[in-house]
Each structure stands twice: as C-alpha cells, then as structure tokens.
C-alpha cells in the first residue's frame, strides 16, 4: 500500500521519547520522494491516456493523488515535529546544543537552528532598556 514508508518516518518520531531527537532519516525521506515521483508519473500517463480517449482511469488517478497528498503530509509533519523538538531544546539547553544532539541533526536543521537563535537573540535584545534573556529563570526563583 502506498504511504507505508512515509508512515514509518512518523512512527519513528512517535516512538522517540520527549526531549530525544532521533537521527535524521535521510534515506527514509529519499524513498518517500521516490514513491511520490513514481505516483506522479503514473498519473501523468493516465491523464494523457484519458485525454486520448481511454476510459475508466480516473479512479487510479484519484487514488494516486490521495497517496501523493498523504506522502507530502507525512514528510512535512516529520520535518515540522523535528524542528519543534529542536526549538524546545534551544530553551532547555541554550544556544549551544549538546554534541550528541547535534550529531542527530541534518545540515539544514543546523542552519534552521542558527537562524532561530538569531531571531530569538534579536527579539530579546529589543526588550527593555538593555535586552532581557527570556531563556533564563524559566521557573520563578525561590526568592
């Protein structure tokens, strides 16, 4: 059934415990994109055949399109949820992430993290007279 590989990515993330970032699954993403390419090509062929007069191919086109949308959703959700974890880690660990977390991040995620740091730093610098580090004292001090 289509969408199985994409679902595997989602399940992998679902299995990971809170605060843990599993390694970036490059190969999994590549396989899903490959499935999407194949589905799209089959649809192109069926659409051309329908234009040429062949009947009854719409059901296949509809099913493959649903599978394409499903694959897309799974891929985007995989990436989005990983970024959410990384973002939360910024607030927990600071602007320098532990090495064992960084090794599980892709190059693009590292770039995203750098930009996120910059956005956050710019925002905090503008607060009050001399800026305010919002990531400190996340729990109210006992005093």
């Amino acid at each position: 059934m289509f969408g199985e590989k994409a679902l595997e990515l989602i399940r992998e993330l679902h299995r990971s415990t809170e605060g843990v970032l599993p390694p970036f699954n490059d190969e999994g993403i590549r396989q899903v994109l490959e499935e999407m390419r194949s589905l799209y090509e089959q649809n192109q062929a069926d659409v051309s055949a329908t234009v040429a007069g062949e009947q009854g191919l719409f059901s296949g086109v509809q099913l493959r399109h649903a599978s394409l949308e499903r694959d897309k959703r799974c891929l985007l959700a995989y990436l989005y949820n990983r970024l959410q974890k990384i973002r939360n880690m910024r607030w927990e660990f600071g602007s320098v992430l532990p090495a064992d977390i960084k090794t599980n991040m892709s190059e693009q995620e590292v770039q995203w993290f750098t930009k996120y740091n910059k956005c956050l730093a710019n925002y905090m610098r503008r607060l009050g007279d001399s800026g305010l580090d919002l990531t400190q004292d996340m729990q109210p001090p006992k005093s």
Binding site: M1, G3, L7, I10, R11, L13, H14, E18, G56, L57, F58, S59, G60, Q62, L63, H65, A66, S67, E69, R70, R73, C74, L76, A77, Y80, N81, N88, W91, M138, K142
Partner: protein, 184 residues
C-alpha cells in the same frame, strides 16, 4: 514552550502536522467498491485481477477511504468499523469504565470523530456514543490523576485511549505543580 498535553489533545483533530492525527488516520475502515477500479488490483490481495470489480469488499485506511468516498464521486462506500457499531455502543452505554479503549484502538475518540465525516445513517448515534462514553469515563480519569502522586500509574492508564491519556497527564501535571507549590 513546554509541551502541554491538553493542547495536543484539543488540536489533534485535523491538525495537519499532528503525529497522533496522522497515525489515527491509518486505522482501517470496511469499504465496498462502487465503480470498477482499473489497474488497482493490488488493493485486493485475495485476487490476481488487475481490476477490482464493484461489490468487492476491502479494508482501506481512513485517509484513502475518505478520498475515494466523496459527495462528488463515490468510488467506494464505507461501513462503520465493528467497534463503533450498535452492539459495541451498547457495551459502552452499559458501563463505559470497564472498556479497554486502548486495546480497541488507541485513538478511539479521535478516529471516531473522523468517521463523522462520512454520510452514514449511524453517524448521529456514533457521535452521541463518543460523547457519552467520554463523559462517563472522564470523572474516573480526573479523580485518579488527581490522587496518584509519585507512583506508578500504569494500572490507571492502561485502558485509556490516547486522548484520555493526555487528559490524565494534564491532571498529573496539575497535581505535581500544586505539590511543588505547597512545599515551596
């Protein structure tokens, strides 16, 4: 900034990026083919034919069934899964608290809500059943989450569906926060 379980629960329905929602939509739904599905024989493992004929019964994942069963073009029709049918609804009505909703489908409410998307005669009864079932079980979940402090809660959550587990977790967090405030 902190993952709040009840936020995840309340936004799980139809949230595009939500992992729970994606997994819930994998649940299978009994379907019947209404129009010939040419060159899609692989959907029916019981046949070698390349075309699936009208009348063939299949179990399709929700995400696929909902795309093939639309008002505009009904390539398939759907029936409700057994755990949402009348006989099971009666069990839930008799005593919702004894039912193991985690075993039946870990996303019982979430998936049940999605079934309401279809045009089916039992939809109203299913909606009622989901609501009443949740209400019946909620009190026990709330009480147990508020009274189990610093102990193993597996026996309290093992029969809960995922939405209920989020609610339980929210209750536990509230209890934990209150205890920490009390002890300064």
């Amino acid at each position: 900034l902190v993952e709040i379980p009840y936020t995840r629960y309340s936004s799980s329905s139809d949230n595009y990026y939500c992992i729970d929602d994606i997994i819930a939509t994998c649940e299978k739904i009994p379907s019947k083919v209404e129009q010939p599905l040419f060159r899609l024989g692989f959907l029916d493992p019981s046949t070698d034919n390349t075309t699936i004929q009208p009348g063939t019964k299949l179990e399709l994942p929700f995400w696929l069934a909902s795309s093939l069963c639309t008002r505009r073009r009904r390539l398939v029709s759907v029936d409700m899964p057994k755990t949402y049918k009348d006989s099971f609804r009666e069990i839930l009505k008799a005593d919702a608290n004894v039912v193991d909703l985690h075993k039946i489908g870990p996303y019982y409410y979430s998936f049940g809500s999605k079934l309401l998307h279809f045009d089916h005669p039992e939809i109203g009864d299913i909606a009622d059943s989901l609501l009443q079932g949740f209400i019946s079980r909620f009190r026990r979940i709330m009480d147990s989450s508020q009274n189990a402090y610093n102990e193993d809660t597996t026996h309290l959550t093992c029969k809960l569906d995922e939405s209920e587990r989020c609610v339980f977790k929210a209750g536990q967090k509230g209890l934990d926060d209150f205890q920490r405030w009390q002890t300064g």
